[in-house]
Protein backbone atom coordinates (compact mmCIF):
# COMPACT_ATOMS: atom_id res chain seq x y z
CA UNK A 1 0.00 0.00 0.00
CA UNK A 2 1.36 3.39 -1.01
CA UNK A 3 0.00 6.64 0.34
CA UNK A 4 1.13 10.03 -0.96
CA UNK A 5 -0.08 12.98 1.10
CA UNK A 6 0.12 16.69 0.28
CA UNK A 7 3.26 16.28 -1.83
CA UNK A 8 4.71 19.56 -3.06
CA UNK A 9 7.92 20.27 -4.97
CA UNK A 10 9.35 23.49 -6.37
CA UNK A 11 12.34 23.92 -8.68
CA UNK A 12 13.50 27.54 -8.30
CA UNK A 13 10.20 29.43 -8.55
CA UNK A 14 8.32 26.81 -10.52
CA UNK A 15 5.84 24.63 -8.64
CA UNK A 16 6.17 21.17 -10.24
CA UNK A 17 4.09 19.11 -7.80
CA UNK A 18 1.19 20.89 -6.14
CA UNK A 19 -0.48 19.09 -3.23
CA UNK A 20 -0.53 15.58 -4.68
CA UNK A 21 -2.68 13.11 -2.73
CA UNK A 22 -2.82 9.53 -3.94
CA UNK A 23 -3.47 6.06 -2.54
CA UNK A 24 -2.33 3.00 -4.49
CA UNK A 25 -3.48 -0.46 -3.44
CA UNK A 26 -1.24 -3.52 -3.39
CA UNK A 27 -1.10 -5.19 -6.80
CA UNK A 28 -2.75 -2.24 -8.57
CA UNK A 29 -1.51 -1.05 -11.96
CA UNK A 30 -1.84 2.72 -11.96
CA UNK A 31 -1.05 4.93 -14.95
CA UNK A 32 -0.21 8.58 -14.34
CA UNK A 33 -1.23 10.42 -17.48
CA UNK A 34 -0.29 13.95 -18.42
CA UNK A 35 1.40 16.11 -21.00
CA UNK A 36 5.12 16.80 -21.11
CA UNK A 37 6.52 18.78 -18.17
CA UNK A 38 3.52 18.24 -15.89
CA UNK A 39 5.54 16.58 -13.11
CA UNK A 40 4.96 12.87 -13.81
CA UNK A 41 8.65 11.88 -13.78
CA UNK A 42 9.28 14.11 -10.77
CA UNK A 43 6.54 12.23 -8.91
CA UNK A 44 8.17 8.87 -9.72
CA UNK A 45 11.59 10.14 -8.64
CA UNK A 46 10.09 11.13 -5.28
CA UNK A 47 8.66 7.63 -4.90
CA UNK A 48 12.13 6.20 -5.48
CA UNK A 49 13.66 8.61 -2.96
CA UNK A 50 15.76 10.27 -5.66
CA UNK A 51 14.22 13.66 -4.84
CA UNK A 52 13.15 15.12 -1.50
CA UNK A 53 9.81 16.96 -1.44
CA UNK A 54 9.41 20.47 -0.06
CA UNK A 55 6.29 19.31 1.76
CA UNK A 56 4.28 16.14 2.19
CA UNK A 57 4.96 12.46 2.69
CA UNK A 58 5.19 9.21 0.74
CA UNK A 59 4.43 6.11 2.81
CA UNK A 60 5.35 2.74 1.31
CA UNK A 61 4.12 -0.07 3.55
CA UNK A 62 3.71 2.49 6.36
CA UNK A 63 7.33 3.76 6.05
CA UNK A 64 7.60 7.45 5.15
CA UNK A 65 10.47 7.35 2.65
CA UNK A 66 10.81 11.15 2.60
CA UNK A 67 12.23 10.97 6.13
CA UNK A 68 14.83 8.29 5.37
CA UNK A 69 18.57 8.90 5.10
CA UNK A 70 20.51 8.01 1.94
CA UNK A 71 21.77 4.82 3.61
CA UNK A 72 18.25 3.75 4.61
CA UNK A 73 16.99 4.55 1.12
CA UNK A 74 19.47 2.09 -0.40
CA UNK A 75 17.65 -0.69 1.48
CA UNK A 76 14.27 0.52 0.22
CA UNK A 77 15.48 0.86 -3.37
CA UNK A 78 16.42 -2.82 -3.49
CA UNK A 79 12.71 -3.59 -3.23
CA UNK A 80 11.65 -1.13 -5.95
CA UNK A 81 12.18 -1.62 -9.67
CA UNK A 82 12.63 1.51 -11.79
CA UNK A 83 12.36 1.48 -15.57
CA UNK A 84 13.92 4.56 -17.18
CA UNK A 85 12.63 6.18 -20.38
CA UNK A 86 15.70 5.11 -22.36
CA UNK A 87 16.41 2.01 -20.32
CA UNK A 88 19.66 3.35 -18.78
CA UNK A 89 21.47 0.04 -19.29
CA UNK A 90 25.21 0.11 -18.61
CA UNK A 91 26.73 0.34 -22.07
CA UNK A 92 30.06 -1.11 -20.89
CA UNK A 93 28.35 -4.31 -19.76
CA UNK A 94 26.74 -7.13 -21.73
CA UNK A 95 23.05 -7.93 -21.28
CA UNK A 96 24.04 -10.76 -18.92
CA UNK A 97 26.25 -8.48 -16.83
CA UNK A 98 23.53 -5.81 -16.71
CA UNK A 99 21.02 -8.33 -15.40
CA UNK A 100 23.45 -10.07 -13.08
CA UNK A 101 24.61 -6.78 -11.52
CA UNK A 102 21.71 -6.35 -9.01
CA UNK A 103 21.98 -10.03 -8.07
CA UNK A 104 25.73 -9.90 -7.39
CA UNK A 105 25.25 -6.68 -5.41
CA UNK A 106 22.35 -7.72 -3.21
CA UNK A 107 22.17 -11.50 -3.05
CA UNK A 108 24.48 -14.34 -2.14
CA UNK A 109 23.58 -16.36 -5.21
CA UNK A 110 26.38 -18.34 -6.86
CA UNK A 111 27.36 -17.95 -10.50
CA UNK A 112 25.25 -20.89 -11.84
CA UNK A 113 22.21 -19.65 -9.91
CA UNK A 114 22.71 -16.12 -11.24
CA UNK A 115 23.00 -17.49 -14.79
CA UNK A 116 19.79 -19.49 -14.30
CA UNK A 117 17.95 -16.44 -12.91
CA UNK A 118 19.13 -14.25 -15.82
CA UNK A 119 17.93 -16.86 -18.29
CA UNK A 120 14.56 -17.07 -16.53
CA UNK A 121 14.03 -13.32 -16.49
CA UNK A 122 15.03 -13.01 -20.16
CA UNK A 123 12.42 -15.66 -20.99
CA UNK A 124 9.77 -13.59 -19.20
CA UNK A 125 10.54 -10.60 -21.45
CA UNK A 126 10.78 -12.83 -24.56
CA UNK A 127 14.46 -12.22 -25.19
CA UNK A 128 16.23 -15.56 -24.85
CA UNK A 129 19.78 -15.96 -26.19
CA UNK A 130 20.95 -12.35 -26.13
CA UNK A 131 23.04 -12.61 -22.95
CA UNK A 132 26.35 -11.82 -24.66
CA UNK A 133 25.13 -8.80 -26.65
CA UNK A 134 25.96 -5.24 -25.63
CA UNK A 135 23.13 -2.67 -25.33
CA UNK A 136 24.35 -0.83 -28.46
CA UNK A 137 23.58 -3.99 -30.47
CA UNK A 138 19.92 -3.97 -29.39
CA UNK A 139 16.92 -2.12 -30.83
CA UNK A 140 15.06 0.48 -28.73
CA UNK A 141 12.30 -1.99 -27.85
CA UNK A 142 14.77 -4.72 -26.88
CA UNK A 143 16.69 -2.30 -24.65
CA UNK A 144 13.47 -1.45 -22.82
CA UNK A 145 12.68 -5.14 -22.37
CA UNK A 146 16.13 -5.80 -20.93
CA UNK A 147 15.78 -2.73 -18.69
CA UNK A 148 12.39 -4.02 -17.53
CA UNK A 149 13.99 -7.40 -16.80
CA UNK A 150 16.73 -5.68 -14.78
CA UNK A 151 14.18 -3.69 -12.79
CA UNK A 152 12.30 -6.81 -11.65
CA UNK A 153 15.18 -9.25 -11.26
CA UNK A 154 15.27 -8.75 -7.48
CA UNK A 155 11.57 -9.72 -7.27
CA UNK A 156 10.55 -6.11 -6.72
CA UNK A 157 7.16 -5.63 -5.17
CA UNK A 158 6.87 -2.11 -6.56
CA UNK A 159 7.62 -1.34 -10.19
CA UNK A 160 7.93 2.27 -11.39
CA UNK A 161 8.00 2.83 -15.15
CA UNK A 162 8.88 6.27 -16.49
CA UNK A 163 7.35 6.79 -19.95
CA UNK A 164 8.11 3.23 -21.12
CA UNK A 165 6.61 3.75 -24.58
CA UNK A 166 8.35 7.02 -25.46
CA UNK A 167 10.38 6.80 -28.67
CA UNK A 168 8.74 3.54 -29.80
CA UNK A 169 6.50 2.95 -32.79
CA UNK A 170 2.80 2.10 -32.11
CA UNK A 171 3.32 -1.66 -32.34
CA UNK A 172 6.36 -1.69 -30.04
CA UNK A 173 4.49 0.66 -27.68
CA UNK A 174 1.61 -1.78 -27.46
CA UNK A 175 3.98 -4.72 -26.96
CA UNK A 176 5.93 -3.06 -24.16
CA UNK A 177 2.69 -1.92 -22.47
CA UNK A 178 1.30 -5.45 -22.61
CA UNK A 179 4.58 -6.81 -21.31
CA UNK A 180 4.45 -4.45 -18.31
CA UNK A 181 0.91 -5.68 -17.58
CA UNK A 182 1.99 -9.33 -17.91
CA UNK A 183 5.05 -8.84 -15.71
CA UNK A 184 3.00 -6.94 -13.16
CA UNK A 185 0.47 -9.77 -12.90
CA UNK A 186 3.09 -12.51 -12.94
CA UNK A 187 5.32 -10.90 -10.29
CA UNK A 188 2.25 -9.74 -8.31
CA UNK A 189 3.78 -6.28 -7.94
CA UNK A 190 2.22 -2.87 -7.58
CA UNK A 191 3.01 -0.95 -10.77
CA UNK A 192 2.99 2.76 -11.48
CA UNK A 193 3.50 3.88 -15.07
CA UNK A 194 3.82 7.47 -16.27
CA UNK A 195 2.75 8.09 -19.83
CA UNK A 196 1.09 10.38 -22.32
CA UNK A 197 0.09 7.43 -24.48
CA UNK A 198 -3.68 7.37 -23.82
CA UNK A 199 -4.67 4.29 -25.81
CA UNK A 200 -2.06 1.98 -24.24
CA UNK A 201 -2.63 3.47 -20.81
CA UNK A 202 -6.30 2.51 -20.89
CA UNK A 203 -5.39 -0.95 -22.26
CA UNK A 204 -3.30 -1.89 -19.23
CA UNK A 205 -4.38 0.32 -16.31
CA UNK A 206 -6.56 -0.68 -13.39
CA UNK A 207 -6.86 3.04 -12.74
CA UNK A 208 -5.67 6.20 -14.45
CA UNK A 209 -4.70 9.47 -12.79
CA UNK A 210 -4.53 12.62 -14.91
CA UNK A 211 -2.05 15.33 -13.93
CA UNK A 212 -2.06 18.93 -15.08
CA UNK A 213 0.46 21.56 -13.91
CA UNK A 214 1.51 19.37 -10.98
CA UNK A 215 -2.06 18.74 -9.73
CA UNK A 216 -4.24 15.67 -10.03
CA UNK A 217 -7.30 16.73 -12.00
CA UNK A 218 -8.98 13.34 -12.49
CA UNK A 219 -8.73 9.79 -11.25
CA UNK A 220 -10.62 6.62 -12.21
CA UNK A 221 -11.13 3.92 -14.78
CA UNK A 222 -11.44 4.61 -18.50
CA UNK A 223 -15.23 4.74 -18.27
CA UNK A 224 -15.16 7.06 -15.28
CA UNK A 225 -12.82 9.45 -17.06
CA UNK A 226 -14.90 9.35 -20.23
CA UNK A 227 -17.95 10.39 -18.19
CA UNK A 228 -16.07 13.37 -16.72
CA UNK A 229 -17.61 16.79 -17.36
CA UNK A 230 -14.22 18.54 -17.01
CA UNK A 231 -13.25 20.16 -20.33
CA UNK A 232 -9.51 19.44 -19.93
CA UNK A 233 -10.13 15.75 -19.12
CA UNK A 234 -12.45 15.40 -22.11
CA UNK A 235 -9.98 17.12 -24.41
CA UNK A 236 -7.03 15.09 -23.17
CA UNK A 237 -8.56 11.64 -23.52
CA UNK A 238 -10.49 12.27 -26.71
Amino acid sequence: MIEISHLCKKFDDQLVLDDINLKISEGELLVVLGGSGTGKSVLLKHMMGLLKPDEGSICIDSVDITKLSDKELIGIRKKIGYLFQEGALYDFMTVFENLAFPLTEHTRLRKPEIARRVKEILAIVDLEGIEEKFPEELSGGMKKRVALARSIILDSKLLLCDEPTSGLDPIRSRDISDLIKTVSLRMKCTTIVTSHDIRNSFRIADRVVLIRDGRIVASGTQKELERSSDTFVKEFIS
Binding site: M48, L50, I80, F84
Partner: protein, 256 residues
Protein backbone atom coordinates in the same frame (compact mmCIF):
# COMPACT_ATOMS: atom_id res chain seq x y z
CA UNK B 1 26.05 43.93 -9.87
CA UNK B 2 23.25 41.50 -8.93
CA UNK B 3 24.26 39.27 -11.83
CA UNK B 4 27.88 39.35 -10.69
CA UNK B 5 26.89 38.42 -7.14
CA UNK B 6 24.79 35.53 -8.40
CA UNK B 7 27.68 34.24 -10.50
CA UNK B 8 30.07 34.60 -7.57
CA UNK B 9 27.71 32.73 -5.24
CA UNK B 10 27.22 29.99 -7.85
CA UNK B 11 31.00 29.73 -8.14
CA UNK B 12 31.37 29.35 -4.36
CA UNK B 13 28.58 26.76 -4.31
CA UNK B 14 30.40 24.88 -7.08
CA UNK B 15 33.63 24.79 -5.03
CA UNK B 16 31.68 23.60 -1.97
CA UNK B 17 30.01 20.88 -4.03
CA UNK B 18 33.34 19.76 -5.49
CA UNK B 19 34.88 19.55 -1.99
CA UNK B 20 31.89 17.57 -0.72
CA UNK B 21 32.30 15.23 -3.68
CA UNK B 22 35.97 14.69 -2.76
CA UNK B 23 35.01 13.95 0.87
CA UNK B 24 32.50 11.36 -0.35
CA UNK B 25 35.21 9.67 -2.39
CA UNK B 26 37.64 9.63 0.56
CA UNK B 27 34.84 8.47 2.86
CA UNK B 28 34.35 5.42 0.66
CA UNK B 29 38.09 4.75 0.45
CA UNK B 30 38.58 5.05 4.23
CA UNK B 31 35.69 2.63 4.84
CA UNK B 32 37.39 0.15 2.51
CA UNK B 33 34.70 0.37 -0.16
CA UNK B 34 37.07 -0.31 -3.01
CA UNK B 35 36.03 -2.61 -5.84
CA UNK B 36 39.25 -4.39 -6.75
CA UNK B 37 37.98 -5.74 -10.09
CA UNK B 38 36.87 -2.27 -11.23
CA UNK B 39 40.09 -0.73 -9.93
CA UNK B 40 42.27 -3.17 -11.88
CA UNK B 41 40.21 -2.54 -15.02
CA UNK B 42 40.70 1.22 -14.63
CA UNK B 43 44.44 0.87 -13.94
CA UNK B 44 44.78 -1.16 -17.13
CA UNK B 45 42.67 1.20 -19.25
CA UNK B 46 44.19 4.44 -17.97
CA UNK B 47 47.76 3.12 -18.08
CA UNK B 48 47.46 1.38 -21.43
CA UNK B 49 45.82 4.43 -22.99
CA UNK B 50 48.49 6.90 -21.91
CA UNK B 51 51.72 4.94 -21.85
CA UNK B 52 52.74 5.27 -25.52
CA UNK B 53 52.21 9.02 -25.87
CA UNK B 54 53.91 9.66 -22.52
CA UNK B 55 56.92 7.56 -23.56
CA UNK B 56 57.17 9.39 -26.90
CA UNK B 57 56.94 12.82 -25.26
CA UNK B 58 59.50 12.01 -22.62
CA UNK B 59 61.87 10.48 -25.17
CA UNK B 60 61.59 13.68 -27.22
CA UNK B 61 62.13 15.79 -24.08
CA UNK B 62 65.29 13.85 -23.21
CA UNK B 63 66.63 14.15 -26.76
CA UNK B 64 65.93 17.89 -27.00
CA UNK B 65 67.28 18.63 -23.52
CA UNK B 66 70.51 16.83 -24.34
CA UNK B 67 70.85 18.52 -27.75
CA UNK B 68 70.26 22.00 -26.33
CA UNK B 69 72.41 21.23 -23.29
CA UNK B 70 75.23 20.04 -25.52
CA UNK B 71 75.19 23.30 -27.54
CA UNK B 72 75.23 25.41 -24.36
CA UNK B 73 77.74 23.37 -22.39
CA UNK B 74 80.28 22.98 -25.18
CA UNK B 75 80.72 26.77 -24.99
CA UNK B 76 81.92 26.39 -21.39
CA UNK B 77 83.83 23.20 -22.05
CA UNK B 78 81.52 21.28 -19.76
CA UNK B 79 79.82 18.79 -22.06
CA UNK B 80 80.34 16.04 -19.45
CA UNK B 81 77.54 17.67 -17.45
CA UNK B 82 74.86 16.93 -20.06
CA UNK B 83 73.94 13.84 -18.05
CA UNK B 84 73.40 16.00 -14.93
CA UNK B 85 71.28 18.49 -16.84
CA UNK B 86 69.05 15.86 -18.45
CA UNK B 87 68.61 13.70 -15.35
CA UNK B 88 67.91 16.51 -12.89
CA UNK B 89 65.56 18.40 -15.24
CA UNK B 90 63.55 15.27 -15.93
CA UNK B 91 63.45 13.87 -12.42
CA UNK B 92 62.77 17.10 -10.54
CA UNK B 93 60.43 18.91 -12.91
CA UNK B 94 59.74 17.83 -16.46
CA UNK B 95 58.92 14.17 -15.86
CA UNK B 96 56.17 14.71 -13.27
CA UNK B 97 54.68 17.80 -14.95
CA UNK B 98 54.70 16.51 -18.55
CA UNK B 99 53.31 13.14 -17.48
CA UNK B 100 50.50 14.77 -15.51
CA UNK B 101 49.57 17.13 -18.36
CA UNK B 102 49.53 14.38 -20.98
CA UNK B 103 47.69 11.97 -18.69
CA UNK B 104 45.06 14.63 -18.05
CA UNK B 105 44.55 15.17 -21.79
CA UNK B 106 44.24 11.45 -22.53
CA UNK B 107 42.95 9.48 -19.54
CA UNK B 108 41.39 12.47 -17.74
CA UNK B 109 39.35 13.43 -20.79
CA UNK B 110 38.23 9.83 -21.13
CA UNK B 111 37.09 9.70 -17.49
CA UNK B 112 34.98 12.85 -17.87
CA UNK B 113 33.50 11.74 -21.19
CA UNK B 114 32.64 8.28 -19.82
CA UNK B 115 31.01 9.51 -16.63
CA UNK B 116 29.36 12.40 -18.47
CA UNK B 117 27.80 10.09 -21.05
CA UNK B 118 26.63 7.79 -18.28
CA UNK B 119 25.07 10.74 -16.49
CA UNK B 120 23.18 12.13 -19.49
CA UNK B 121 21.93 8.60 -20.27
CA UNK B 122 20.64 8.14 -16.69
CA UNK B 123 23.10 5.33 -15.95
CA UNK B 124 24.35 7.07 -12.81
CA UNK B 125 20.77 7.55 -11.61
CA UNK B 126 20.06 3.92 -12.51
CA UNK B 127 22.95 2.87 -10.25
CA UNK B 128 21.20 4.64 -7.37
CA UNK B 129 17.88 3.00 -8.17
CA UNK B 130 19.61 -0.39 -8.07
CA UNK B 131 20.61 0.34 -4.48
CA UNK B 132 24.30 0.94 -5.25
CA UNK B 133 26.29 4.08 -4.41
CA UNK B 134 27.48 5.44 -7.81
CA UNK B 135 30.46 7.18 -6.18
CA UNK B 136 31.66 3.85 -4.80
CA UNK B 137 30.97 1.95 -8.03
CA UNK B 138 32.07 4.46 -10.66
CA UNK B 139 34.19 7.22 -9.11
CA UNK B 140 36.37 5.55 -6.46
CA UNK B 141 37.99 3.05 -8.89
CA UNK B 142 38.73 5.82 -11.42
CA UNK B 143 40.25 8.20 -8.86
CA UNK B 144 42.31 5.51 -7.17
CA UNK B 145 43.54 4.27 -10.55
CA UNK B 146 44.77 7.81 -11.34
CA UNK B 147 46.69 7.91 -8.05
CA UNK B 148 48.32 4.55 -8.81
CA UNK B 149 48.97 5.01 -12.55
CA UNK B 150 50.39 8.57 -12.69
CA UNK B 151 53.42 7.90 -10.41
CA UNK B 152 54.23 4.67 -12.32
CA UNK B 153 53.97 6.44 -15.68
CA UNK B 154 56.15 9.25 -14.34
CA UNK B 155 58.97 6.84 -13.43
CA UNK B 156 58.72 5.22 -16.87
CA UNK B 157 58.76 8.66 -18.50
CA UNK B 158 61.88 9.65 -16.56
CA UNK B 159 63.72 6.45 -17.51
CA UNK B 160 62.83 6.87 -21.20
CA UNK B 161 63.75 10.58 -21.14
CA UNK B 162 67.13 9.81 -19.57
CA UNK B 163 67.65 7.13 -22.25
CA UNK B 164 66.96 9.80 -24.90
CA UNK B 165 69.61 12.03 -23.32
CA UNK B 166 72.01 9.08 -23.24
CA UNK B 167 71.72 8.60 -27.02
CA UNK B 168 72.59 12.23 -27.71
CA UNK B 169 75.33 12.25 -25.08
CA UNK B 170 76.98 9.09 -26.39
CA UNK B 171 76.39 9.32 -30.15
CA UNK B 172 76.31 13.10 -30.71
CA UNK B 173 78.54 14.49 -27.96
CA UNK B 174 80.83 11.44 -27.99
CA UNK B 175 80.77 10.97 -24.24
CA UNK B 176 81.78 7.50 -23.16
CA UNK B 177 78.75 5.30 -22.43
CA UNK B 178 79.89 4.10 -18.99
CA UNK B 179 80.86 7.66 -18.03
CA UNK B 180 77.40 9.00 -19.03
CA UNK B 181 75.62 6.31 -16.99
CA UNK B 182 77.90 6.92 -14.02
CA UNK B 183 77.29 10.69 -14.21
CA UNK B 184 73.52 10.14 -14.37
CA UNK B 185 73.54 7.92 -11.27
CA UNK B 186 75.74 10.40 -9.43
CA UNK B 187 73.50 13.31 -10.41
CA UNK B 188 70.27 11.95 -8.94
CA UNK B 189 70.15 12.01 -5.14
CA UNK B 190 67.14 10.59 -3.37
CA UNK B 191 66.02 14.16 -2.60
CA UNK B 192 65.96 14.97 -6.31
CA UNK B 193 63.93 11.88 -7.11
CA UNK B 194 61.41 12.18 -4.28
CA UNK B 195 60.97 15.95 -4.66
CA UNK B 196 59.55 15.23 -8.12
CA UNK B 197 57.90 11.92 -7.28
CA UNK B 198 55.83 13.33 -4.38
CA UNK B 199 54.30 15.86 -6.74
CA UNK B 200 52.88 13.10 -8.93
CA UNK B 201 50.46 12.01 -6.19
CA UNK B 202 49.09 15.55 -5.88
CA UNK B 203 48.80 15.90 -9.66
CA UNK B 204 47.03 12.54 -9.91
CA UNK B 205 44.60 13.50 -7.17
CA UNK B 206 43.81 16.79 -8.92
CA UNK B 207 43.26 15.09 -12.29
CA UNK B 208 41.07 12.36 -10.81
CA UNK B 209 39.07 14.81 -8.72
CA UNK B 210 38.44 17.40 -11.45
CA UNK B 211 37.72 14.89 -14.23
CA UNK B 212 35.46 12.64 -12.13
CA UNK B 213 33.58 15.62 -10.68
CA UNK B 214 33.00 17.22 -14.06
CA UNK B 215 31.84 13.92 -15.55
CA UNK B 216 29.60 13.05 -12.61
CA UNK B 217 27.75 16.38 -12.86
CA UNK B 218 27.64 16.71 -16.66
CA UNK B 219 24.43 18.22 -18.01
CA UNK B 220 23.13 19.11 -21.44
CA UNK B 221 23.20 15.91 -23.49
CA UNK B 222 25.96 15.13 -25.98
CA UNK B 223 26.90 18.82 -26.32
CA UNK B 224 27.26 18.97 -22.55
CA UNK B 225 29.61 15.96 -22.58
CA UNK B 226 31.91 17.79 -25.00
CA UNK B 227 31.76 21.03 -23.03
CA UNK B 228 32.37 19.43 -19.62
CA UNK B 229 35.21 17.27 -20.99
CA UNK B 230 36.99 20.34 -22.37
CA UNK B 231 36.44 22.18 -19.08
CA UNK B 232 37.78 19.21 -17.11
CA UNK B 233 41.02 19.06 -19.12
CA UNK B 234 41.50 22.85 -19.07
CA UNK B 235 40.81 23.06 -15.32
CA UNK B 236 43.13 20.20 -14.47
CA UNK B 237 45.91 21.77 -16.62
CA UNK B 238 45.57 25.04 -14.71
CA UNK B 239 45.47 23.29 -11.34
CA UNK B 240 48.53 21.16 -12.19
CA UNK B 241 50.53 24.26 -13.17
CA UNK B 242 49.49 26.18 -10.03
CA UNK B 243 50.07 23.16 -7.79
CA UNK B 244 53.52 22.65 -9.33
CA UNK B 245 54.60 26.19 -8.44
CA UNK B 246 53.31 25.87 -4.86
CA UNK B 247 54.73 22.38 -4.33
CA UNK B 248 58.11 23.34 -5.81
CA UNK B 249 58.35 26.29 -3.43
CA UNK B 250 57.37 24.16 -0.41
CA UNK B 251 59.77 21.35 -1.36
CA UNK B 252 62.68 23.73 -1.99
CA UNK B 253 62.00 25.54 1.30
CA UNK B 254 61.89 22.44 3.47
CA UNK B 255 63.96 19.93 1.51
CA UNK B 256 66.29 21.79 -0.80
Amino acid sequence: MRNFMKKFLDYLAGIGNALFFLFRVFGNILRGRIRIKELLKQIYEQGYQSVLIIMLTSLASGLVLALQGYVAMVRFGAKEYIAHLVALSLVRELGPVFTALIFSGKAGARITAELGTMNVNDQILATKTLGVDPVEFLVVPRMLACIIVVPILTILAEVVGIAGGYFIGVFEANIQSSFYIHQTIRAIHYVDFFSGFIKTFFFALLIGWVCCYKGYYTKGGSLGVGRYTTQAVANSYILIIIANVILTKIILTFWG
